[in-house]
Symmetry: C2
Subunit: 550 residues, 2 copies
């Protein structure tokens, strides 16, 4: 029994380790093009920023480790050129000697990973234009920074790597501009959540260019000016291209392996491709959504480890099966954390769900324990009550909430279930009712209790269409005077009970406060007094004005 694995980063080494744990006798061999193996690609931005001091910390394991620990042979600087699935043979090139030879396999696992997307930019080949794709490229960037002491940098793209680089370059005292072709940062986020992210970048002195592209990187050997689509010109001392990644499937394609609709290698739940005894896993393989059941491509280290382990288990005759993903992801940006799991509002609408949406702004801990506010945008299916997805931004405790939501969604949780969770409460860790529970309560009130929510976008849309709406600002007069939604009347919660006579009972009413709680209280009073069409503005004044362009 001979298992050959192509690629020795996250998925490939996971597959090898699992295969060995299951089977002591199999011969297990990995071919890796790169000189490094099993490194933490997710740690690379932090090496650039100096938070991680040496590359050794990111590459704790070498082929000798795998040999002694797992009896696995890893050949680095070896490129697999061709797969001949009829003969179960592969053609391999030693990149150091250029020697080409043939090897055979009983089971073949393809874990060729992802490759960065290279945008068409004139001058992209200049010496101070980088991509962060592996250990070597991180070292190049770090060396350039150390030697050339750049003052200004441009990051092209605002995915995880791009934004983590922004933070890490800023940490080195470099002025940073982000150029993003979409209309909002971090594409998987909804626009209204992404506005919070933009605000964070701006407040940390980062320049943000949306709906923009770099068309030319001017200069001689080194670029010193970036020309944008709009005609704007940015001075710069270095550029990092982080325009996303795509699955590395050339080798698989050549071998006749089926590619899925997402462009990644199509696999079943056993990580099998369409060709017998050939598996694919990690960033080159297609995944599927736990929520929709449909194929998706979200290349993440967590999924690569998981699918690698499954491929290794299956290749040794065992039965572990892949159950899909929520695309759960998280990143740190300055003193904030941004996380997501499941469907965004945009995705849910595109999938045809009738949805309920809430923007829940709550502290992660009591005020007296210096709780920090977080925004939880949650999307639920109106028909089933099932939670479809969440997006969270805050300074503290975001990672906990997204993992609780991800777990709940995986088990098919309805919004009604969240209030009932018995989550751990003590003042240093949470509020008595956790923000997760409040999210469920707000959505349940919308779905079952006639306490309808309206999003900022929908309110604006209705205002623009000249619908007749009574907008009630339930905050204190002072707050109202400082700023309020256009056309709103001020009826503070405390006096609302006694002052409902003047309000037209048949008109659509929208209540709001700072963040939503008192808006809901005002809504309750009106509904209990017989008003019929009362909506509470989701996320209140705070969220409404955050989602205006800043």
């Amino acid at each position: 029994m001979k298992i050959v694995i192509i690629g020795a980063v996250a998925a490939g080494t996971s597959a090898a380790a699992k295969a060995r744990r299951n089977n002591e006798d199999a011969q297990i061999k990995i071919y890796e093009m790169d000189s490094d193996i099993s490194y933490s690609a997710c740690g690379l931005p932090y090496f650039v920023g100096g938070k991680i001091e040496t590359l050794e910390e990111l590459v704790p394991r070498n082929p000798a480790f795998f040999k002694s620990k797992y009896n696995v042979d890893i050949l680095t600087s070896h490129q697999v050129l061709n797969i001949n699935s009829n003969d179960k043979k592969i053609e391999v090139k030693n990149l150091l000697t250029s020697e080409v030879f043939t090897d055979s396999y009983d089971k073949l696992i393809i874990s060729t990973g992802a490759k960065p997307i290279t945008p068409q930019i004139q001058g992209i080949d200049k010496k101070n234009v980088f991509m962060l794709r592996n250990v070597r490229s991180a070292d190049l960037i770090k060396t350039y920074i150390n030697k050339q002491n750049p003052q200004k940098a441009i990051v092209i793209g605002s995915g995880f790597i791009g934004l983590e680089l922004v933070e890490n370059l800023k940490a080195l005292g470099i002025e940073v501009a982000v150029v993003e072709m979409e209309d909002h940062l971090m594409r998987p986020l909804d626009c209204d959540v992404s506005m919070y992210l933009k605000d964070i970048l701006l407040k940390n002195g980062v320049e943000v260019y949306l709906n923009e592209m770099v068309t030319e990187l001017a200069g001689d050997e080194y670029t010193n000016k970036a020309v944008l689509k709009s005609g704007a010109v940015l001075d710069t001392d270095m550029v990092v291209v982080a325009a996303g990644v795509g699955p590395n499937v050339e080798l698989a394609k050549k071998a006749g392996i089926e590619i899925g609709t997402t462009g990644a290698i199509k696999v079943n739940n056993r990580m099998e491709t369409n060709i017998k005894d050939i598996y694919a896993c990690g960033d080159c393989a297609e995944s599927f959504s736990i929520v929709t059941g449909k194929p998706c491509y979200r290349p993440l280290g967590s999924t690569a480890n998981k699918t690698g382990r499954i491929a290794g288990d299956q290749a040794t005759g065992e039965n572990l099966e892949f159950r899909g993903i929520l695309g759960t992801s998280i990143f740190k940006i300055f003193d904030y954390t941004v996380a997501q799991a499941g469907l965004s509002e945009r995705e849910a609408v595109n999938e045809g769900y009738g949805i309920s949406v809430c923007h829940n702004i709550k502290p992660d801990k009591p005020e007296y324990f210096h709780g920090e506010e977080m925004l939880i945008k949650a999307v639920a299916d109106k028909d089933s009550g099932k939670l479809l997805g969440v997006q969270i931004i805050g300074k503290s405790g975001v990672d906990k909430r997204v993992d609780v939501f991800a777990t709940a969604i995986t088990f098919g949780a309805k919004v009604q279930d969240l209030f009932h969770l018995d989550l751990a409460y003590a003042p240093p860790f949470s509020t008595t009712k956790d923000p997760v529970m409040y999210t469920g309560m707000i959505l349940t009130n919308d779905l079952e209790r006639g306490r309808k929510l309206i999003t900022s976008d929908e309110l604006d849309y209705r205002i623009e269409n000249n619908e007749s709406i009574t907008i009630i600002d339930a905050r204190a007069a002072k707050q109202y005077e400082q700023s309020h939604v256009e056309g709103a009347v001020n009826l503070p919660h405390e006096i609302l009970r006694e002052n409902t006579d003047s309000i037209d009972k048949d008109n659509m009413i929208v209540t709001y406060c700072n963040k939503g709680v008192t808006g809901n209280a005002a809504q309750n009073i009106l509904i209990n007094k017989g008003f019929n069409k009362v909506y509470n503005l989701s996320g209140g004044h705070k969220n409404y004005f955050k989602t205006k362009d800043i």
Copy 2:
């Protein structure tokens, strides 16, 4: 419609607020014996320690707030003396004027809370012996400390309040001794987990007395010596009794309301007592376990808020129902966090489950991001594979993991499900495979894959019974030389593959390493080579020696 509520701390005020949200017309009135309402009892230890500076931070709401915000009347310093459920009347005493009067109700909600258990100790009434039960008593303790500058304190009991006080008194520079009558700290924990807690206290300079009781507090007006059951005498400048709490049910009992097996008021899922139109909620009411379905009593702020809200909803004709608890709890102790959800090993055994137990020691983040180790002890049902409970101790990220486990257990998760969770990974927040997932993998390997675990307790028991066991220390020779399990032979993982001939194939074999991973690797090699009775020591050398008395 008139709703009367007895008690205005967590449950009572939650009930009132929810009732008002549902119903604008009902008259809602709360009688409260104390002078303070709606305070955070869980924050009181931190007021003592100075982390919370003013009592106002803990008591953010007063009756005027409830009047203006919810149109709820709260009468403080009013004790309800009797309930006459036939006439739907109550007898109330104004504690300030001693006036006694009668009031009526349509719906009555009892939220009389818990009361501290007072141990029989000679001298317990001395002036420097305190209980921490409410805002006033916290103030008394704080004032005493400020004025008398005590150097030494004794805390009797090691529940949440007791241990949080230990930390907070130490923070003030006071030497602290804990006296606990049980054989381990924090009764709900298993002994082997509680040993980690004891270690934390000792390392922070706290004296710990187990299996001990204070029999006498000697001195004149003030005690200066505590005499223990063993005869030991401890000098002290103050004593705080934190010997646990029991449900405050005298009033309910007198009214003929049924008390459950736990001693708390028996309620159904609608928080109804056996008497029509009388509800109970919060720390005076019985709860039930989500895992076993059986009644339990775990007075916690999170549950009080939840059951209060449900009572308020039901009293206004709505349909929210209680779904039980996992007894999820958490506390901070020095730089550690200790948390628990579901059944302990002891509880699971008492309930008659055949169980699988693992001690999973893992960092919460990658090493290069300064990950801190945590211990996760998890208990699963052998028959169904369902996770029954977890206990976690660590410096960072414990609150996240316990909430994920609590959510998973609530949805009936099997240990096999945990690996498949799509949890949020990025280096500042987690490892690629989260400790939660590893816990599932370890237990699945035990339950399904023939990779049996053995606990330290069971190994010791078998050694004591002179069973023939080959114990293999798979660590490096240097580590073995420093310390090893008695009778173990050293066969480092790296050379084990080539050195299995000398091992008796029919003997029981126990492998171990530092924490379990390499022990499992050694186990895999032996099993794959045809050895039959191979066990991996749960939690390895580290856990084995932690559970020895320290």
